[in-house]
Symmetry: C2
Subunit: 328 residues, 2 copies
């Protein structure tokens, strides 16, 4: 017997059909239709969120939904693409009732407004295991305008948006790690919020078309993701830890010696953009930062060679023990 | 400590990068690029496979991979689309070692050849739960040529490809259900194979552009999926159970009174195509069946009204107790 509730098709009708964009055909067909404007390409990416790995069981469903969507939008932003559509799959245990799903869908509805995207398809199933979600996002970019990881050149300046390390610290706050004892509540809340609800740099990503030589979003960790650019571009990089932009909360944690700048630069989950641009783009980037109200900070230089060199405050190379999160 | 093995990025390099098509950018970027030919639309669909729900733990990994891909290709076929690309996410417990993944990827490699598709992106994570896989498939269709569920009209003939009910019986064979005792091994093997490895009607789907008024693939069950066409098209349908095409193995099971034609028409997982076409398309459909070496059988008629009426051998309406699989 199915558990009481709306049932599979009832849930689709109640919670997901209202989110459907025109290409989704009311979620009534086997597949969705996606138009691509002339002179453009579609850009696609997919990410998953597994209970106990990417989020905690008690996390608010609307935040789980938003974070999954935003992680994907961050990937599109890193290519310079404008987000348009997404497909969603849910594998839910019976402990996720209709109310859980209603709140989950409300989160999506809010972010659809914020980011001008719409649901066009998906699949729902039961699972004997943890909640497993995947989201495929589709964006558009003019042919040839896409920003890849491969274009960094020696002499390029390395820039990063926003602040780094907050989400890494936020996870510690949510876990009630001991190093947060005595840290101001306002700081703790701000850090937790950055972990639970990243802000993908969608507007910035599109505006860096023609400016950035190479770009990546910061999900594995600043040093690891800059390393991906270096690997793909066959170059090296040097960054100054002192230059890595920190929020007031992260700065307070460093000042109180509860964490290090190196830990913050390896922590991950920031969903900022790290990119390389020729030095003659400094003015444009400065104007962009002012216009978007978003700090964009130069943290180092692309060089011939291989790998990422990290310099401490004294200009001495430090060896990161870990360069980012690995699932295996 | 990570378990011994290739690690997350090592696995991507070893098993998935060799499957990557040109749009996949060597799986080195944040997202994949998809070109859409002028005058065409892209068609996207996503399906998941969860251990213990869609497949059994001991199932061969190459068959798990192929079935997941093929279920998606079946959805594209149902829209009349030609498949091109796919994205894949894997959430794997530590019990899935490199060898499991090697065999999984080999299955994908074989089907990439069979169906002329290529991997362009994905995401891999660990999970404390069962194996969870999702696959997003992308195809192409000329603008306006897409076959939807909405176009069925009273007077249309209802057709179905291949044979119905084999996968449903095949699951019973794999579960060693009692009704298969004494059934010839050749029949049992044929039925199990249909469950483990469906054959999506990719060639037929594309060829029905301009022929079929409405189409759906048979995944929930013949009666349920025909019901989806009726709901979307706001029409009714009558089918004759006697006309539903059966394989020799399924026919033997019915003759031995181990199952019923009604059960086979509600069983699901067939991945055949059910479609409605005006009666003046009979000749074209006959030729298509001959050319593709695939039976296409008329099983009933679209009518004004609502819902699917099912007639038994004596022409009397029967009431299905279940019309298809529900996850909740």
């Amino acid at each position: 017997m199915p558990p009481p509730g709306l049932g599979e098709f009832g849930r689709i009708r109640a919670f997901f059909a209202p989110l459907a964009g025109p290409g989704g055909l009311g979620l009534m067909d086997d597949a969705a239709l996606v138009d691509c404007p002339r002179g453009h390409r579609l850009v696609t990416t997919v990410d998953q969120a597994v209970e106990g790995v990417h989020f905690l069981t008690a996390d608010p469903p609307d935040l789980i939904a938003k974070k999954l969507l935003r992680r994907n939008l961050s990937d599109l932003a890193a290519m310079g693409a404008t987000p348009r559509h997404y497909l969603l799959t849910t594998a839910l245990p019976t402990s996720c009732n209709d109310e859980w799903l209603r709140r989950f869908a409300r989160g999506l509805a809010e972010d659809q407004q914020t980011y001008a995207v719409a649901l066009i398809g998906g699949d729902s199933t039961s699972t004997p295991g943890p909640i497993s979600l995947t989201l495929t996002a589709i964006g558009e970019v003019a042919v040839g305008a896409e920003i890849r990881r491969t274009g960094a050149r020696p002499g390029d300046r390395i820039w990063v948006s926003g602040t780094i390390g907050d989400a890494f610290l936020g996870l510690g706050v949510l876990r009630e790690d001991l190093e947060f004892v005595g840290i101001a509540k306002g700081f703790r809340d701000a850090l937790a919020a950055r972990f639970q609800l990243p802000e993908p740099r969608v507007a910035l990503g599109c505006r860096l078309v023609g400016v950035a030589d190479a770009m990546c979003d910061v999900s594995d960790g600043l040093i690891a993701d800059l390393g991906h650019i270096c690997d793909a571009s066959e170059v090296g990089a040097t960054i100054r830890l002192k230059a890595v932009p920190l929020s007031p909360a992260a700065d307070a944690m460093v000042a109180a010696q509860r964490t290090t700048r190196l830990a913050l630069a390896t922590g991950g989950d920031d969903y900022e953009l790290v990119f390389a641009a020729p030095s003659d783009a400094d003015t444009v980037i400065g104007k962009l930062a002012a216009e978007l109200g978003l700090p964009i900070t130069a943290i180092g230089t692309i060089e011939a060679g291989k790998g990422v060199r990290v310099l401490d405050a004294a200009g001495k190379p430090v060896a990161p023990t870990s360069t980012g999160w690995r699932h295996f």
